[in-house]
């Protein structure tokens, strides 16, 4: 699992993101101001020409542009004055919200995974035991057949049913369990 980054690193990332958003919002504010400035003389012109409808339309658009400008001014002010506190607030909201939810979901999924894998492991153990039992039966049958019919002794070596985990045959993955952990589990399973 990826190690959790430090608060300082995350705050730094949030600060950079806020700074980027501030630039973008400022750019948009400048665009709004410019658009309002462009509209203003058009309204005056329309009013001067006696075009009441045209002047009203320009005025309506101007009002809308001013309202939008005020929103951007407010947003830029928040992004400019917020600084460290805003970065901390944003980070806290993210950590408390999506990050926690994400982790809760992961825990749920992993809980199911643990049960699934444990079931699979126990099933593999049972199968191993059943195979050993089958082998015993088979060996017994062969032995009886040989003995009763006077046939020659077995030439093949008996099968070793022990699950041998040794440092020499266990390759530990970077995020995988250690040799000791695997060895202990196999021991507990009686294999």
């Amino acid at each position: 699992m990826r190690p959790m980054s430090s608060i300082d690193d995350e705050l730094d990332r949030e600060r950079r993101r806020i700074e980027d958003l501030r630039h973008r919002a400022k750019r948009r504010l400048a665009e709004c101001t410019k658009e309002a400035e462009t509209l203003q003389p058009r309204g005056t012109e329309a009013a001067g020409a006696g075009d009441a409808k045209g002047a009203a339309e320009v005025e309506r658009r101007l009002q809308k542009m001013r309202a939008r400008t005020r929103r951007y001014e407010d947003l830029v002010a928040e992004l400019e004055s917020g600084g460290d506190r805003l970065a901390a607030e944003v980070l806290l909201a993210r950590l408390q919200g999506p990050e926690v939810d994400l982790l809760v979901g992961e825990v749920e999924r992993n809980r199911e995974l643990v049960v699934q894998r444990a079931t699979a492991l126990l099933r593999a153990r049972d199968r191993h035991r059943a195979l050993r039992h089958r082998w015993t039966e088979l060996a017994e049958k062969i032995r009886v057949l040989r003995q009763t019919r006077g046939l020659p002794e077995a030439r093949s070596a008996p099968v070793d049913f022990r699950v041998n985990v040794a440092p020499s045959n266990y390759v530990q993955q970077p995020d995988g369990p250690t040799y000791r952990e695997v060895s202990d589990v196999v021991h507990h399973l009686g294999l």
Binding site: L21, R28, L75, A93
Partner: protein, 208 residues
């Protein structure tokens, strides 16, 4: 004093058939979120936290009216906000990833820098909405009414804008890579710096 119970009865979700218990109370007997009055709503101070908590718990937003609410930086990821009145609402820098906003009223809403990746905005009303710099990657704007909306520098990559009305909308420098504009209206839309050849399908650019 008896606790106030809003007149709204939930029609869907886990609380279907039950009465809404949100507050504060409005003159018409509904809570501030369901009131049908046109007056300015006294949303509680912690409105953002209240809504975020509902979204996290997967509770319903059915019939909610949040006009002109200040919900800046709110996180409503995955929330079902279908049909909700969000006209004039400040949703700038909000997290609305995979949220369901079908038929939502977002007229004149302020969505600057909002994260709307894979959000369902089908049939929504976006007239005059400000979606500048918004991330609409993979979002559905199918049949959306976005006349005069501002989508400059928005990310519309692989978004479904089929049959959307984007007449007089501003899409300057928007990313439209792989976006679907089949049957979309873009008459008098501002398309400076938009490479429409990168869209998956073309739009109707002719004025009616």
């Amino acid at each position: 004093m008896a606790a106030f119970i809003c007149r709204h009865t939930w029609r869907s979700g886990s609380d279907a058939g039950k009465r809404c218990n949100l507050s504060p109370r409005m003159e018409d007997g509904f809570c501030v979120f369901h009131s049908e009055l046109d007056e300015e709503r006294p949303f509680p101070q912690d409105v953002v936290a209240v809504l975020e908590e509902r979204a996290r718990r997967g509770l319903s937003f059915e019939g909610f009216r949040l006009p002109d609410a200040r919900l800046r930086r709110i996180n409503l990821t995955g929330a079902d906000l279908s049909g909700v009145d969000l006209s004039g609402t400040d949703l700038s820098l909000s997290q609305l990833m995979k949220s369901k906003l079908a038929k939502a009223d977002l007229t004149n809403a302020f969505l600057f820098g909002a994260n709307l990746q894979e959000a369902d905005l089908s049939g929504s009303f976006l007239l005059g909405a400000d979606l500048a710099e918004a991330d609409l990657f993979g979002a559905s704007l199918r049949d959306a009414e976005a006349f005069g909306a501002d989508l400059r520098r928005a990310n519309l990559a692989v978004a479904d804008c089929s049959r959307a009305d984007l007449s007089e909308a501003t899409l300057s420098e928007a990313n439209v890579n792989g976006a679907n504009f089949t049957g979309a209206k873009l008459a008098d839309a501002v398309l400076d710096g938009v490479d429409m050849s990168r869209a998956a399908s073309k739009a109707d650019l002719a004025a009616e």
